[in-house]
């Protein structure tokens, strides 16, 4: 198709999208392969960016427009790379295109949703609410098309959505297809998954009802989230007054993620502002091992911690119990500077779970370090990585890295072309 003149970007999150756009705007054909039904990845799920506290939708919208306007960018959603063979300048890539069951005629009118009788947990909101089996992944999904979850849709035996759709946009007979492309270089921008909090049995996630994770907190605080931006605790939908943030929940822990996820301290400080803005009588307690707010982020730490209702306590929470009467979580922690082991009862706990690199699970054709991040040295010629696939970065660093990866991809094309 493209005879080794294109760049393949695996992963359509903020890093992958940036790499693809930067390369395309420099004049090179690019492909994005994204496994979700939408582009934008983890950033699309955030309520606000730190430290500016602006909504990520804003930046994503600009990027989506750049993609729409640029014919050099082609993207596959609901797609996964099945295999890669060949070498720099001539990679044969097989992509599995999973069926969306909805074609390009979809106008996102939502008549199908009204007709659909089946529900599924909303993975975009980490299961805190439900969608129908046919759904729009989120308000600003790109592409703006509905999608059917084949794991819950009964298919042609139901087909109520097909009848409801006035645009003939639903095709329940769609099957997975294999797409073959030829590219010159590949950038892995496979990003991360939130670490599975149930693995830390001592922190009670999944057992103690009012223990949530930081990514859930983003969705709770988001205006397009399950609670329309109202921070509520799961057990009784009460708005919590006292919220404890548990840092290093899984990170810097050789029993879980050995690496420091790098962003959780800033994310917690940011989320403390969500809480404080939602209720002036609320208090945020941040339990930490070390506060890792490097460089200019120190200012953000100072700003947030100058609020006397944001309390920073040195000590790692290593046990969480539940008060059976109130359903309040009780943290057990050593207040190191105070020299006491304490039990602290709060309304809700947010676990600052870390970033688990996705490449680890997919077994991608890229060499990884022991933590599952792509190695920067020693990769096959023409293979690069960007963003969190490479190291646990915040968005700003990921963007810089993604732009650099675009240049590497281009240089690879040029040098392979000369041979």
């Amino acid at each position: 198709m493209s005879d080794g003149k294109s760049i393949l970007v695996i992963g359509g999150g903020i890093s992958g999208v940036t790499t693809a756009i930067e390369a395309a705007e420099a004049g090179y054909d690019t492909y994005i392969v994204e496994k979700n039904p939408y582009l934008g990845g983890r950033v699309a799920q955030l309520n606000k960016y730190f430290p500016k506290l602006c909504p990520p939708y804003c930046g994503l919208e600009i990027n989506f427009r750049r993609i729409r306007q640029n014919p050099k960018i082609r993207f596959y959603t609901l797609a996964e790379v099945e295999s890669v063979s060949g070498s720099e300048g001539n990679f044969n890539v097989s992509i599995k295109q999973n069926p969306r069951m909805v074609n390009n005629k979809c106008t996102a009118c939502s008549k199908c949703v009204e007709a659909c009788p089946v529900e599924r947990p909303n993975s975009f909101n980490f299961g805190m609410d439900k969608t129908k089996a046919i759904y729009l992944p989120h308000d600003m999904s790109f592409p703006m098309k509905y999608v059917i979850d084949p794991s819950v849709c009964p298919g042609t035996s139901c087909a109520k959505c097909v009848g409801a759709c006035t645009y003939n946009a639903i095709d329940l007979s769609m099957k997975a297809e294999s797409v073959k492309i030829n590219v010159g270089s590949i950038v892995y921008a496979t990003g991360w998954n939130p670490y599975d909090a149930t693995k830390m049995e001592n922190l009670g996630f999944g057992k103690v009802k009012n223990v949530i994770t930081n990514v859930m907190m983003e969705r709770l605080a988001a205006i397009n989230g399950p609670t329309k931006g109202v921070i509520q605790r799961p057990s009784d939908q009460k708005q919590p007054k006292n919220v404890a943030f548990v840092q290093c929940a899984g990170s810097r822990d050789e029993n879980h993620l050995k690496h420091c996820s790098g962003i959780c301290c800033m994310a917690t400080l940011k989320q403390a502002t969500y809480l404080r803005e939602s209720d002036s009588a609320s208090t945020a307690f941040m339990y930490y091992i070390d506060l890792r707010t490097p460089g200019k982020y120190e200012d953000f730490l100072k700003k947030v911690s100058s609020d006397e209702n944001v309390k920073l306590i040195k000590g790692k929470v290593a046990k969480i119990e539940e008060d059976p009467e109130t359903m309040d979580p009780i943290l057990i922690v050593e207040d190191i500077l105070g020299g006491k082991k304490i039990r602290h009862q709060v309304d809700m706990v947010v676990l600052a779970t870390g970033m688990e690199p996705s490449a680890k699970a997919t077994g991608a054709g890229i060499k990884l370090d022991s933590d599952g991040f792509a190695l920067t040295e020693g990769q096959m010629a023409g293979v690069y990585s960007s963003g969190v696939a490479k190291s646990p970065n915040d968005v700003t660093t990921s963007l810089q890295d993604a732009t650099a990866a675009a240049l590497k991809g281009i240089q690879s094309l040029v040098s392979a072309g000369r041979k």
Binding site: I289, I332, K341
Partner: protein, 393 residues
Amino acid sequence: MGAERHSTVLTPDVGFVKGLIGSGADNLKRCYQCATCSVVCDLTPQDNPFPRKEMIMAQWGLKEALSKDPDIWLCHNCNDCTKYCPRGARPGDVIAALRKSAIAENAFPKFMGKLIGSPALTIIALAVPVVLFLIILSTGGYLQIPEGQVVFDKFFPIHYVDPIFITVATLVLVSFVVSVRKFWNRLNVEPYKLLAYGQFMPSFIETLKEIVAHAKFGKCGANKDRTTAHRLVLFGFIGLFITTNWAVFYLYVFSWASPYSIEADKIPSVFGGSQAMAAMAYGAFKIFGNVSALLLLIGGIMVISNRMKDRGFVSKTSSFDWTFAVIILLLVITGILSEMLRLSNLPIAYPMYFAHLVFVFYIIAYLPFSKLAHMVYRTTAITYSKMAKRDIM
């Protein structure tokens, strides 16, 4: 570490840190002070909990501060801390190494602490009784395998055995008195300095009750299996201690010597000529002794098998610990074999008995310096902690 601004001078003892690292605490410096250990520990007091503070004191080589710390003895090596430690620093092993160091530090005479504390010198420690026994036996003209029915008294007369061990036991007692005094004075300083001593007896009794019931062990999570093993070893030792004194009683009070003949003309006068009474006294004594030995054997095997088991965490028990576990096992195995070979009337029973006495000597003579000294130090420290209101049981 207080809030007030004054200079604090810390004197790190590098040799001390190296010593800890050498005795099983090799990952000590990995600790980054998150305090997971203090949280998952169910034996720690709420105020100034352990083992987080011990970890940093050990990293900094604060030997002096650690020698005053009663908390290392409240630790029962449950290893919940080690299991949950995010850095693999193994606080359980660090505290175990600290206890070992405390035993050596308080030892009287001090060179004995060094001798028994170094696994490499075990062979010398074992050679001492071998040489001693050989000298005594040869000067008495006993250095040979006797003919006829196997009776240990013919080989190593009881009137040799008893003076040796009574002397040794007396020395052990003196050593312990000196060591425990030193230890107590080290503990009894700020911040837990005792204001009054009235609580000594109640605290001591409470401590003994806890030890018998293994109450602290009961709170262990990760290393629960050890409770039964330790209980069997403890009861085995207590049983054998009683057995020994029982034999001493028969010998010196009833003038009834092993092999405890129950022939009518040889039974002690106290039984009033009743052979049945003598048989009962004999039987009870034998059953008690053998059951005690079995408890020790089973407990010893369990201790070792528990250590080999995968418990979801690593514990590098120091070689100090291993030497001791193996010697206890050898002690009980040689003891049981001596008895069985004697009953089979095989002359090889004699050298086996000799080996057994060597291990008995090791266990008793080196009591204040070996791992077994923990029974005295721990009892002292827990009693002290109870008096200082530091113990949470």
